[in-house]
Amino acid sequence: MRTLRRVRAFAGQFALLGALALLAAFLVSGPVRYADERTDTGLRGDIAALGSSARDLTFVTRKRIGVTSGVTAQDRLGEIRADLAEPLPRLVGDAWYIAGSEKSDIGYAGKAPATCPDQADLRYESGIDEAVQVTEGRAPQSRSTAEVMVRTDQAAAAGLAVGDRLTLTGRYGATELTLVGLFTARDAAAPIWADQQSAQVACPDPLEGLRYQITLLTDQSGAAVAGARLGDLDDHFRYRLDERRLTAADVNVLTTAVARARRTPPDGTVLQSSLDLTLAEFDQQVRGVEALLAVVRAGILATVAGLILLAAGLAADRRRAEFTLLRARGAAVRTVFARTLRESLLVVPPAVAAGWLAGTRVPGRPDTLEPLLVAGAAVLATLAVPVFAAYGARRPAFSGHRADAAAIRPSARRLTAEGFLVLLAAGGLYLLRRRGLDTGAGVDPYLIIAPILAALAVSILALRIVPFVLRGAGRLAARARGAVAFLGLAGAGRGAPLRSGPLAVLVVAIATGLFTGTVTSTVDHARDRAAELTVPADALVTGHYFTGDAAERVAGVPGVTGAATMTLEPGSSIRADDRVTIVQALAMVVDATTPGLDLPVALSGADRGDVVPAVVSPEVAAELGGGGSVSLQGRSYAFRVAAVRDQVAGLPAGTRRFVVLPRQAMVIPDYQPLVPNRILVRGAGFDEARVRTVADESQRDQLASVSGHPVEQWQLTLPATVTTRAAYRASLEERGVYGALSFTFTAGLAAAAALALGAVALSVLAGAPARGRILSLLRTLGLSGGQGRGLLIFEIVPMIGVAVLAGALVGIGLPELIGPALGLDGFTAGVTAGTTLDPRFAGGVPALAVLAVAAALVVENVANRRLRLGTVLRVGEEQ
């Protein structure tokens, strides 16, 4: 009861502490859960968009010539699944047993085989009966001859009809089949169809055009009969990863599990899946995102922890007289500790519980560290006041505590500790820069600590440097007439201008906010750059080969203001002039004067000649020397190296070996033209579909001129795709994990701003009694209300100003300093852009500073609203 009375007596202080504890508990649970949820959703979306070969885990029996499947291994489906390494059994959703052949040529019984026949694989698949709707004929019921059914769209493409008698000819044999039915999928989007899509592939001889690849479904006995005759039938055990059960936390261990399944597959099988590659890529992304998020979260949590310590220090300080009295009456330090601990226990744990409860209401996956962090917040907030109180009561100052210069001067011990911290931070950043991220599982703790240490170190340096500056300013103000500037600067420069606690908290908060802003704008900027590099015009048309006049054709589309063709030839051979070297590189041939490419003048202004100037990548330049000749579409073009560049617009991001030739300067004979495969389109508001149609017409004409006969649209191997720069830029944002990133950045910015304001308010509150006392004295000396507010501004502005400067230094410098460790390239399609800060953020900081000053004035007004001058001055009452 007595404890409760005490808590009520100091309700304001405990309410503040409780609110901060609640906030801390909420912050370590709620937003983290939400961010994790966003990561998971993004990851699931990305996985769902993958093709079956990339997301399914398929074990295929190892091929042995002469041995075919008996179509009896259905039972192994469950066994294999159970034997998979954790967490695979838990994450696998659907599973199918397939007895299937390789793609084999389809022929018609009694007819001579075509030169480029369509191809089909024959398969029996578990669960197929429920997935199909027979639309014509019936389902297979094979006896001596295997009966098959085909999906209606595939039958139409391959020109098959019910009743057709087919032969399937594989590598090891042939079998006859009867087509007895056509079907449609009950649910075309069902995963069972994912590996049965018809495809159109080029014939071995390009002049023969394209052929279809389809799937023939049969029953169990049909598969056994036909498989034996074909000499080719393998058991497939296909497991589909259920993305709904997958979380980002699983990715790392899942990658390991898949890799293990590849190394030690079930008996007699091999794994056919690129899932581990896909996952490894995700893992890298998730880890990159997590590293960034961890820095932001750690900054925010450190700020909250700092605020809790400030509030606790304030609470203990306000009760110093009480504790001193207790000590004077014979209480041990332990007694003071226990007394305040009982009070804290009444307030903090319920507040933490409430915060945690609120956090758990946020949908999402709890972080593994969550209970630990909540417990940490609870312990910190509970013990802070008792520890401060006990520390203060250790040497009670019965005659009041000194506030003069001697007490303010830092001790040698303190200076040593500060120096050590600064060294630690500098060393930490240096090592982090050199070492990069820890490649082990989870987030590198070093990465989390180093930025906070850096912020603290900078705040300490500021704390020690600023008084000198203020003193200088104070000397100037002393000569001037005004009282406020003189008083403010004298007080700030000679007294304790900055309290280390509030300043450190403020610097960490502002550094976190600015770090967040800097990373956001850096990533944005790099993505813009990536879009500019990848799509060096308003749109890029990609195809197999276009006619030489494709640019003029596309330029005719309404809305298109200009177009230029480009040839990209991967793996072109380059012969060095003066060395016996053959280099493989991506060759790009383009009119160098095309706007947006930003090629050197040597290329854009080159004269037509036999040896043209070229831009090459550093790697190629090193191997090549001064020049060489590149073989393009059967003709050799000589060039000399005019410039060496890391990146050239129009090349895929991350291309390390390339040579760029200026088309306008090259001598290209009419009889052997250089056929383009890209069109750069400039303009706005053009119809993309129209551009695609025109481009495909050009492709068809090109193919027709080569093959000598008319070409239909469906015969095109690579129909033209139009990628606008805006669409490409947007696609860079669509990667799943970025959702969490943008959420955390927004939340981090907001939280950092709010907490910074909180720190300012708290530090004003902490200094309110002392300031109230001085203000009272000054009021009796004739200080007006306006001058009083001016004085507060002089007291607050150095702190906020220094915090903003120091925070900006850390926040903007950090991405630069630990950039290699953060791996920002992963978010920007491989493009590295220098650190940039959006002017909006840069402008936001002074705005926040002004807001902080306003908040300080409001808090001060509330704290010292009623200056009972007489009482304050005579009795020395501070409250």
């Binding site: 003069d404 002393a478 007439r481 004298a490 001085i774 000054l778």
Partner: protein, 313 residues
Amino acid sequence: MTDLADLERRAAERAAARAGGEDRLRGHIVCDSLVRIFRTEGVEVMALQGLDLVVDRGELLAVVGASGSGKSTMLNILSGLDEPTAGIAKVAGYDLLGMTARRRLEYRRRIVGFVWQQTARNLLPYLTSRENVELPMRLAGKRAKNRADELLEMVGVGHRAGARPAEMSGGEQQRCAVAVALANNPEVLFADEPTGELDEATADEVFGALRTVNAELGVTVVVVTHDKAVAGQVRRAVAIRDGKTASEVRRSARVAADGSEELHTEEYAVLDRAGRLQLPSAFVEALSLRDRVRLNLETDHVEVRPGSSEEKR
């Protein structure tokens, strides 16, 4: 003691010079039926119960009273830091009831100076003595050259002009505080237990400083103290009891038969406007006066007798 008389005469001369004539000296500070009631959590405390006080310009007055007698409440009202519940309070023509903020500021800047009991609270710790003295001038927007040094010299701490409070003794700090209070050349100086934290010798120094400024500058000085000894150092000491002025001790200098000046001390009880009178507690105790007393009007005085004299006998 002749010093004191001399100082008093000089103070009166300076004050008259300041005010512009002997006739303007009366009623520099006037309190009439001053009432101040404090309300805390429903309980009313009547700190001043109709206090009357008139102080002339250039006077050095001590207000003496026990703790809780209401002397500090009175001082707070006169300083413009507090407002009376009822009554009249005027200082140098400023009506202290219902002053606007602007006028209050002007009052603090031009009319009054303060010295508080706690030495540390009179001065800003991070300013030197000189800067502390210059501060009120800066706040008022004026800055007379050398005035700070003159004032510090006058109170006897001129040699510590460059020192900060922490480097000075309590007495030096308090004398410096007197200089601060005088920075803007106020008409009235209020000192609340200025020697409360000091030892006797140091207290004498501070009091000496107060007397000096009173004499040299003609400033009206009101010192509130619970130290009866202080009363012996001033010409007029007013005692406050239970929120009222109870008695007054006046000391005047006379020329003795041998030509030397001597001080003559007389104690008066104060009769208020309603004719009420407070008997000194020593008188009350000596005759065990309780509840009722008898009053007899004689030709030249009033007699007070215990109300139940028969029973005693």
